[in-house]
Symmetry: C2
Amino acid sequence: MKAKKNSPIGVFDSGIGGLTVLKEINRVLPAEGTIYLGDTARVPYGSKSGDTVTRYSLEIAKFLVKQGIKLLVVACNTASAISIETIKKESPVPVIGVIDPGARAAIHASTAKRIGVIGTNTTIKSNTYLKAMKELDKGVHVFAMPCPLFVPLIEEGWIKGKIAVLIAKKYLRYFKDKKIDTLLLGCTHYPLLKPVLSEVMGDRITLVDSAIETGKEIKRVIKETGLERKSEIKPLRRFYVTDSPERFINVGERFLGQKIKNINKINVGG
Amino acid sequence: MKAKKNSPIGVFDSGIGGLTVLKEINRVLPAEGTIYLGDTARVPYGSKSGDTVTRYSLEIAKFLVKQGIKLLVVACNTASAISIETIKKESPVPVIGVIDPGARAAIHASTAKRIGVIGTNTTIKSNTYLKAMKELDKGVHVFAMPCPLFVPLIEEGWIKGKIAVLIAKKYLRYFKDKKIDTLLLGCTHYPLLKPVLSEVMGDRITLVDSAIETGKEIKRVIKETGLERKSEIKPLRRFYVTDSPERFINVGERFLGQKIKNINKINVGG
């Protein structure tokens, strides 16, 4: 299958979190068409085993490739941490995950070379961020902490107030004596909690958001590979979900910062 | 298919919550064999649409019937609220859900006939508890409130302390001026939060636990239909999960109050 310049970029996530990445793509590459798939019938991935996450990711990659995408973005940290090598092997189009851009940006941001990482259980347990950062800089010290309640808290919309602060304090207490100067948000949901995370961590800690870094990386790859779309026609913006679109639209519009139209429910892998 | 007296009882839930029902079955019917299936690869159900919950429930019911069960217990409030009629139509063995036993017990417990119900988004939105209670007593007043963060909170093990109390207070504030005397725990996870719920609601509110009521109902049906197991041999206790057994065992043993052995991972419906 030959990727065509005017084909859309495929973006997938377990649910709505990857919309923070889609938002960045739409911002830095406004002429590009995008197809977003949220696997809302099987969300979340972050508490499930690696085997299950890889099986789901391959089913979705296959579906998106069939739609004629020119590039596949794995906008889910858990799927990127666990399944990206397998997806790359199977995909006829280039694949970009969120781990490497995030790791590079964190290394770049840290002067102390002491970096904290937060994410889902499965992402943190995989040690993928640690490995990615060590490959870029052997001398870096990485401290990782899973924060499994952040995703449901954000999906509930409780992104400020006492409860959010107390939950953040309980998880982030771990970093108190680690002398980090940078905290990598290793989950595409977490940018929504930035104000609370800043409050708890203090001004001197830099928060690195992998959505922004992944947007930059995609722009670079699109330009380098000569895959830029050249057209005066308004680009396609399509959405697929595996469960009812209703809830996805409600919460998703808050993530994306714009209206979600052109959305369909599909079955992927039963 | 003819149900045999010595066949096991099949019990299913989206994940680990239904173990509170299994615990009751094992307690009141110690001679009965049980097969428990937790759909851990697709958990949770409570935030998903009715169509998706019914599709998943039917796949699991079919699997358990194939294992030769004599009775099917839907130990998940969301699946009971949404899919029980469809499951009953398709199942060759009797089906028992958790809604009717819970509704009956709540009606029985309330003298004021003013009852609160808490559950997942999908359970509460379905109005199934309201309908079940109105059928038993037209004059009853039912007030329902979804508490979507309770399940992840319980799965994280934060079942006491300041955060649990604050989250409970935020959801249960709704009942402040409703003059209820009974609160029905409409989710199989919630019994784990009983101490916090009692603290927040106060001593004068009766908490009704559908796990206990469903255990009684199953015992009644088993006796009435002459399906009691008569054997001196130790009964079978088997578990199936759709994702890795590791995490299920860790959290599940806390729910069940005993060791989980004899567990296998299976694929249901892709």
